[in-house]
Amino acid sequence: MPLAEVMIGVMWAGLTAYVLFAGADFGGGVWDLLSGGAASGRRRRELIEHSIGPVWEANHVWLIFVIVLMWTGIPGVFAAVASTLYIPLTLAALGIIARGAAFAFRKVSTELWQRRLFGAAFAFSSVATPFFLGTVAGAIASGRVPAGIAAGNVVSSWLNPTSAITGALAVGTAAYLAAVYLTRDAQRAGEDGLAEEFRRRALACGAVVGLLSAAGLLVLRADAPRLFAELTGGRALPLLALSVAAGLVSLALLWRRAYLAVRLTAALAVTGLLWGWGVGQYPDLLPGVTLEDAAATSSVLAATLGALAVGAVLLLPSLWWLYATFQRDRTGPPHERGDSALRNE
């Protein structure tokens, strides 16, 4: 049934885009949290805010894209996942509210205490949200979400070793991607000191994420042996290898300050991990439920994929234009540019 495969592929591509773009937004929040006091961290926070301001709304639409494709394309799986994992999903949803709202509020507030309050909400939810979403991934990967409505344990399904490590990995990946992207943004803004700083952070964070991934494999061996076997010896091995290789190359590129190239390899490392999971688990979505069992009728898949194809024709050039408009080189650090007036500083 190729339509179902195309659909799940498109969904996974959407998930990848979500992790790469929105993940970096979350990571920006993580670094905001670690930016130090209001005065000493100001320039860091400004850079972060400036980088994610225009694009964060669009970045987060990918999540909606994935959710909607899930309930359209594999409705039974969506129902099983949402009903069993409603606790981490509710917490992630609340984190999304807090994060988006606080970010927008902070941007227009002027008083220090307001900026601190909203900034704290933004930063804390930037850590919590990817963590909970990561535990959801861990729950699915370790086969703890059975088919059926609320058939799994509502607590242990997401409080377990695999979920814990995937949650941590999600936060780490987000922070790593953000640090990598921010090096280049800082460099382009002429903030070489900041670029250096984020380079060091990216290096450290990349090492941590590498270690977390290795630890994750060990956990999988004990907790999800089938997925582990696929990742280390089966179909998914090439993808895992790609991820590891790209991760190592990224560290080297960071070391040599090749900030543009490292964007690509860092993204590749994360992509390899995600697709390794997907390929390793395929064709099972939930224990005993294959893609074929779960897929919606072909009329639905055809209509949805057709609509998305038409949509892509509109979207891809627009997205390109959005990123291009704000990545164009401009002179001067962000706070001296005209648009900073819009942010009312």
């Binding site: 709304e57 909606i64 927008a104 209509a303 819009l342």
Partner: protein, 457 residues
């Protein structure tokens, strides 16, 4: 209403899920309406400012764009929660019928992307684009906003008039997603909703400037801020009344139980009177003003037409009559009140090219935004509570759709707290925006700079 809905549901989880859904939808819809309407009204102001070189309009456009940035962010996050909640609260609905209503939601996703992308450009690239290019970047936001309202309401319309699938042995088969999307309820509901969005935005923005006028700020800037959105809303209102009538006729012929609840008709009969006001006690309408044969006439253009009463269906299938009846009365009453306000403005404008002079005019305009929001919420209560006990009309009961997992009540408590905080913070930040000066400038528009000591309220 809260108490009644809670009491209606045998099970606390079901009650909590329904209240949580109603809270998040009722919250989101206000922001969504602004998301649909504000880009259009802001663009009109920007265009007038550009064409006439009028700094007042430019400044208004800028202010509204800034507020839009905040409102859009809050609207978007509150919408994301809804997508989660469809699964968290109603997994059986989505598990069975997710594929049937998936298409409009996928299309909506595309519309959201377009909206978010062009909003990013519109808000942040004011100084990077020429004025005309900047205004053009706003057009896709308007189109996508209206489109997204259309798409999501088709999904709701499907819950009222489910079509486009068959059930065979408990499984959904032969799905035709296009037929589901273009179900019979789609035309009246979507049109009514989109017009409501423009009314809410128009009256809503006008209210802010009306309040400023009541506080003595009657200069050109504040007049323009009142007049432009109020005119837009006043143009939409008469059309909305006609479309509301269409929606009511549709309900009369397709969801007779809902009509019976809206009008408090307990016994099937001919020549049914129209009840204005009143309350149902022991299966009878009391204290209502009765217009003889009114309902038969309105619903079927025939004073002797038969109207189905609630007696034709088992009590277990009744929606809560008082909630639906009062909500309907409220919506229609407010609709006519807003029509009167629109007519007042139109008369004064035709006679003297000016706002009405009466001090009651800014007072009325100041409450019109609240009235429009109330009408909007009341309308949704009619639609959604009137559909009960069905989540999918005559196909699936709400009680059969809910997530059976334990602890939904706590989720509801938590979500309510978050929404309370969110509401306070949003109002607070919007007030900051209204007060604060200087208004942000853009290098390309130095003339706006000179006007920066304008406050809104």
């Amino acid at each position: 209403m809260i108490v009644q809905v809670m009491a209606d549901s045998a099970d606390a989880g079901l009650g909590a899920a329904r209240m949580q859904m109603a809270l998040s939808l009722g919250w989101h819809i206000v922001l969504a309406c602004l998301g649909v309407g504000m880009p259009a009204i802001t663009l009109i102001a920007e265009w007038r400012g550009h064409r006439r070189g009028d700094p007042h309009y430019r400044l208004l456009a800028r202010r509204w764009a800034r507020a839009m940035g905040v409102l859009f962010a809050v609207g978007a996050v509150s919408g994301k929660i809804l997508s989660f909640e469809m699964g968290l609260l109603w997994p059986r609905l989505m598990g069975a019928y997710g594929q049937v209503i998936g298409l409009p939601f996928s299309l909506e996703g595309i519309a959201f992307f377009i909206e978010a992308i062009f909003l990013g450009v519109y808000l942040y690239a004011w100084d990077r684009l020429t004025p005309v290019a900047h205004m053009l970047s706003g057009v896709p936001i308007v189109v996508a906003g209206v489109a997204s309202a259309f798409f999501v309401v088709t999904a709701n319309a499907w819950m009222q008039q489910p079509t486009g699938f068959r059930l065979a042995g408990g499984r959904v088969v032969a799905v035709d997603p296009w037929a589901a999307m273009f179900n019979p309820a789609t035309p009246p509901q979507t049109v009514h909703m989109i017009l409501a969005a423009f009314m809410v935005t128009g009256f809503g923005i006008a209210s802010v400037y009306a309040v400023a006028m009541l506080r003595g700020r009657r200069d050109r800037y504040h007049r323009a801020g009142l007049l432009l959105p109020l005119t837009a809303a006043a143009l939409v209102t008469p059309a909305q009344i006609v479309v509301g009538d269409w929606a009511a006729h549709f309900v009369a012929s397709n969801q007779p139980v809902k009509l019976a609840a809206m009008e408090g008709v307990f016994h099937t009969q001919r020549g049914v009177p129209l009840h204005v006001g009143g309350i149902a006690v022991d299966d009878r309408m009391r204290y209502a003003l009765e217009i003889p044969d009114g309902l038969s006439l309105l619903a079927h253009f025939d004073p002797d037409a038969e109207i189905m009463g609630l007696d034709r269906v088992p009590v277990a299938d009744w929606p809560p009559v008082n909630v639906v009846h009062l909500a309907f009365q409220l919506m229609v009453g407010l609709g006519f009140a807003l029509l009167a306000l629109s007519a007042w403005l139109a008369l004064a404008w035709i006679r003297r090219r000016d706002l009405p002079r009466s001090p009651w005019f800014p007072r009325a305009a100041a409450v019109s935004g609240v009235a429009a929001v109330l009408a909007l919420e009341a309308g949704w209560v009619v639609t959604e509570v009137g559909r009960q006990p069905w989540i999918v009309y005559r196909v699936m009961r709400t009680a059969d759709a809910v997530n059976p997992a334990p602890g939904l009540v706590w989720g509801f408590v938590l979500v309510s707290l978050v929404y309370a905080v969110l509401t306070v913070a949003t109002v607070y930040v919007l007030r900051l925006l209204a007060r604060d000066r200087p208004v942000p400038i853009a290098p390309q528009e130095p003339d706006v700079h000179d006007e920066t000591d304008q406050r809104v309220v």
